[in-house]
């Protein structure tokens, strides 16, 4: 295969190490600033990079515009999830959640506003936080991750109000069902659980892998992604990507994608989904018909 030979740059120890780091980097999370001009991205080394979207998307964008405006070490472990309030950027990784002020984040040597660690049961290993969810009505933050519980934290006071238990294995993802209000959580144990925030109890459990139409045993039973539209829910991961009707807890449509899904969102009437190890973002309409794919 014809490939232009890469330029041999004299590489010292530092350059080789940097190149290797970049080859093995994974970006786990991202979040857009409230003003819409900046994008924060978190990677597996615990660094957060702030990119200027307005510069990168403008007509005069150069190579430097696509590099981060600032990069800093936020956590010791990977930054698995990030979410933005109207003033803060919240990032979570190895066991704790930190808050950064968007207005100050571009300055060098930015320090976190606060950091909180939910009360964990085990002390042998610090569990990771895989998902953050903002509940605007209550002004609280829900964290879920390695210790199989959902913790709610009040953003005003910083205290942890609830701990919702029920999952038997760690939690991958969260979704908010606005009307009730309910929180959906999907985990490694293959179950999607619905929690009522007012009563702090588990309202419903859907064990996806038990349904034959969607289960794919060779991939495992884990639920990697969740999205909900109050009446409807899409979930996927080990089992195939399925659209569920929540009230009846029945799968209605199974989307024909082979790879395990990592991300899915509802967008108006469409379902947008991205697989973890392909370069495509598939767009479906609710009827299970793949409209088209956006490719990298």
């Amino acid at each position: 295969m014809e490939r232009p030979a890469p330029v041999a740059v004299p590489l010292g120890q530092a350059e080789v190490f940097q190149a290797l780091q970049r080859l093995h980097m994974t970006v786990f999370s991202q979040s857009v600033s409230p003003c819409g001009k900046f994008l924060a991205a978190g990677n597996n080394y615990g660094q957060i990079a702030i990119f200027s979207l307005s510069a990168a998307l403008s007509s005069e964008a150069k190579e430097e515009s696509k590099k981060p405006v600032v990069t800093f070490q936020a956590h010791d472990g990977p930054v698995y999830s990030m979410v933005s309030t109207d003033r803060h950027l919240l990032s979570a990784g190895d066991g704790e959640v930190k808050a950064w002020l968007w207005a100050e984040i571009l300055k060098k040597g930015c320090k976190e506003m606060w950091r909180r660690q939910p009360p964990y049961r085990t002390s042998l290993e610090v569990p990771e936080i895989n998902a953050l969810l903002l509940v605007p009505k209550e002004n609280s933050l829900i964290l879920a991750g390695g210790d199989c519980q959902l913790h709610t934290m009040d953003l005003e006071t910083g205290t942890f109000t609830r701990a919702l238990r029920g999952h038997t294995d760690y939690i991958h993802c969260l979704a908010l069902r606005e009307r009730s209000p309910e929180v959906l959580s999907g985990g490694e144990d293959g179950a999607v659980r619905l929690w009522d925030l007012r009563t702090a109890k588990e309202a419903q459990t859907i064990e996806v892998y038990k349904h034959e139409e969607c289960s794919r045993p060779h991939n495992g039973r884990w639920i990697g992604c969740l999205a909900t539209d109050s009446d409807w829910m899409v979930c996927g991961g080990g089992p195939a990507l399925t659209l569920w009707h929540l009230r009846s807890s029945t799968p209605t449509t199974i989307f024909p994608i082979r790879a395990p899904q990592k991300h899915v969102t509802f967008y108006q009437d469409l379902v947008l989904t991205a697989a973890g190890n392909s370069c495509r973002v598939d767009v479906f309409t609710n009827l299970g018909y793949r409209a088209f794919s956006l490719s990298f």
């Binding site: 890469p6 041999a8 004299p10 590489l11 350059e15 290797l20 994974t26 042998l124 045993p217 060779h218």
Partner: protein, 695 residues
């Protein structure tokens, strides 16, 4: 004589009025005795006014008489003649009176003149006297001013000040009582004292001069003595040669080396001097802890023919003779056989790439008795240094197949500094020279001539700035000195790491990963996966592999690296690892790319856990370096790969739909099997607890 004087006198006399009569009168003046009738005396008596009146009367009478005569004459008659006669006699008398009066007038005039003359003469004499006096006055005035202006020599002498004088001078000179009042005496006394002092000092001066003479003579004597010493010392040196050899103190040898060193070209000379200095400094630093016998880790020697080196600088006349001879020869040969253009070009190339006959040999001894032999050459026309390297070990090495390139002279020193591959000439001016003789690059000749690494140029003090090719690059000692220590250390590290790899490869080819005891803590006690194969791979083959594309695109797989393939197996699972070994091992880590064949082919593009395994050995290599100097890195990385494969296979979640037990039961202790949104396996080994966790 007397006629002359009278002649002289006569003009005088003629000039003045009153002719000889006056002359007579002058005589009569002088003789004035009263005998003669002196009219002068009469003149004094008569009154000039009366004489004037007489004159007027006489003239009137004459006029009257003349008139009467005329009348008479005109009348005629007889008695006229008597009357005329009478009147004539009267007029004659009158004439006589007139004559007398004339004479008197003349005498008066003369007297007057004489008086005037006398007076004038007197006045003149007074005038002269006055002038004389005035002249004298002026003269005296001049003299006075001269005297007043006179500077006596004694004023030019700096005399000691008055106080000192009175203090120091002995009383018989200073004579205070006299001199205090009288400045003249004082000055005299001071001058006396000055004279005294000067005499004394002149004495001293003479004494010192004589001393000096004596001492000079002594110095001469001693010099002669010393110069006679030199030949004797030489003979002692000669006699002591056998003793030197016996005691292992080769001073003479060093001396000879320095002699030879004078014929070295400047860059080699700089290298020689700096290397010797560094070697001595190292020996000196270590000698305090070691027994007195010098244990040199760096030894420098000069090889080659000094005569040839001298021959390079033959005077032009000889070479012209040679040229004319060779021209004649050439003409003859052209008649017989024209040398082809290619042969001519070949000769020109050989001429351009000619080496200086002398070369410097540097031997670096490492702790384990292996030696790196470096021979430095100087290419005269290109003005660059090259080096040839050879590694010898204390014991004979059996080279494993895969280790062929490790210690080969061609590649053992490649990329000592990043990017310094030694295949291109560092001197930008050489490109123009190459174009003339059709040499494309120096790479083709490198095996023969040695490698022109950049650090070699720097050790020889040659610096080639990239922007402008310079005509003359001078060898600079400070450049060499600043690079010497780092380069020597790098060379030693390079040799030792290569030798370590050599040994490790021998073991790897037999399927054993040699993990030293001080690195055992990095791995669990039981490792089931085994290394089955370890081979070298060519650079092109590496580039063709489908799972190495990331590394190639990142520019980390150049042609200066060495490539290997390792195969690790457990059960039915086969893990292929393609290894990029950078010449700068072990400061630059080897890079692994994995491909697992078990239930399908998994690489980093389709399995995140494979990617995590690669990250464990590529990115987290610093934990695996082991004790300094970190030569265990490669073997530790391979061992870690075996452990990772174990973990991967054992933690693979069981597929419920497939029947049968798991191929690899879980034996490793893991806290959690999956973590994070990417569901990573626990690859991190914790010592000493012995369990696996996530990073």
């Amino acid at each position: 004589m007397s006629s002359e004087s009278s002649k002289k006198r006569k003009p005088k006399v003629i000039r003045s009025d009153g002719a000889p009569a006056e002359g007579k009168r002058n005589r009569s003046d002088t003789e004035q005795e009263g005998k003669y009738y002196s009219e002068e005396a009469e003149v004094d008596l008569r009154d000039p006014g009366r004489d004037y009146e007489l004159y007027k009367y006489t003239c009137q009478e004459l006029q009257r008489l003349m008139a009467e005569i005329q009348d008479l004459k005109s009348r005629g008659g007889k008695d006229v003649a008597i009357e005329i006669e009478e009147r004539r006699i009267q007029s004659c008398v009158h004439f006589m009176t007139l004559k007398k009066l004339n004479r008197l007038a003349h005498i008066r005039l003369k007297k007057g003149r004489d008086q005037t003359h006398e007076a004038k003469q007197k006045v003149d004499a007074y005038h002269l006297q006055l002038q004389n006096l005035l002249y004298e006055v002026m003269h005296l005035q001049k003299e006075i001013t001269k005297c007043l202006e006179f500077k006596s020599k004694h004023e030019e002498i700096d005399l000691v000040s008055l106080e000192e004088f009175y203090k120091e001078a002995p009383p018989d000179i200073s004579k205070a009582e006299v001199t205090m009042g009288d400045p003249h005496q004082q000055t005299l006394a001071r001058l006396d004292w000055e004279l005294e002092q000067r005499k004394r000092l002149a004495e001293k001066y003479r004494e010192c001069l004589s001393n000096k003479e004596k001492i000079l003579k002594e110095i001469e004597v001693k010099k002669e003595y010393l110069s006679s010493l030199q030949p004797r010392l030489n003979s002692i040196m000669q006699a002591s040669l056998p003793v030197q050899e016996y005691l292992f103190m080769p001073f003479d040898q060093a001396h000879k080396q320095y002699e030879t060193a004078r014929h070295l070209p400047p860059p080699l000379y700089v290298l020689f001097v700096q290397a010797t200095a560094y070697g001595q400094a190292c020996a000196h630093m270590k000698s305090s802890s070691q027994p007195p016998r010098q244990d040199k880790t760096l030894s420098v020697a000069i090889e080659g023919s000094v005569d040839e080196a001298k021959a390079l600088f033959k005077p032009p006349d000889d070479s012209q003779d040679d040229e004319s001879d060779s021209d004649a020869e050439e003409e003859q040969t052209t008649k017989r056989r024209r040398p082809t253009l290619g042969v001519q070009l070949d000769d020109k190339r050989k001429e351009m790439l000619k080496r200086h006959p002398l070369s410097v040999m540097v031997d670096l001894k490492c702790k384990d008795e292996s030696v790196l032999h470096l021979t430095f050459y100087y290419l005269m026309n290109l003005n660059i240094l090259t080096v040839k390297a050879k590694v010898t070990t204390a014991t004979e090495l059996i080279t494993p197949i895969s280790a062929g390139d490790l210690l080969s002279p061609d590649s053992v020193l490649s990329c000592l500094y990043p990017g310094d591959h030694g295949k291109k000439t560092p001197n930008p001016a050489n490109q123009y020279q190459f174009d003339k003789v059709g040499i494309l690059t120096l790479r083709d000749y490198v095996l023969d001539l040695g490698h022109p690494y950049l650090w070699v140029q720097k050790l020889g003090g040659l610096h080639f700035p990239k922007e402008q090719p310079q005509h003359t690059v001078i060898a600079d000692h400070s450049l060499s000195a600043s690079h010497m220590e780092t380069t020597m250390k790098l060379l030693k590290t390079r040799v030792q790491s290569r030798l370590a790899l050599h040994k490790q490869f021998a073991s790897l080819e037999h399927g054993i990963v040699p993990v030293t005891s001080d690195c055992q803590y990095l791995f669990p006690a039981k490792v089931v996966s085994r290394l089955v194969k370890w081979v070298t791979v060519a650079h092109e083959d590496y580039m063709e592999l489908h799972f190495t594309k990331d590394i190639v695109e990142a520019g980390l797989a150049g042609d200066t690296n060495l490539y290997y393939m390792a195969l690790i197996e457990r059960g039915t699972a086969k893990l292929q690892a393609a290894v990029v070994l950078n010449p700068g091992y072990s400061s630059i880590p080897p890079i692994f790319q994995l491909c697992l064949n078990w239930k399908g082919e998994k690489t980093n593009s389709n399995d995140d856990n494979i990617r995590a395994m690669e990250s464990e050995v590529n990115v987290c290599y610093k934990e695996l370096c082991g004790p300094r100097p970190g030569h265990q890195l490669l073997t530790n990385q391979l061992q870690r790969l075996c452990v990772l494969l174990d973990v991967y296979l054992e933690t693979e979640s069981h597929d419920d739909s497939v029947e049968g037990p798991k191929e690899f039961p879980q034996e490793k202790m893991c806290l959690r099997l999956f973590r994070g949104p990417s569901r990573m396996k626990p690859f991190k080994y914790n010592h000493p607890q012995g369990f696996f966790s996530h990073r």
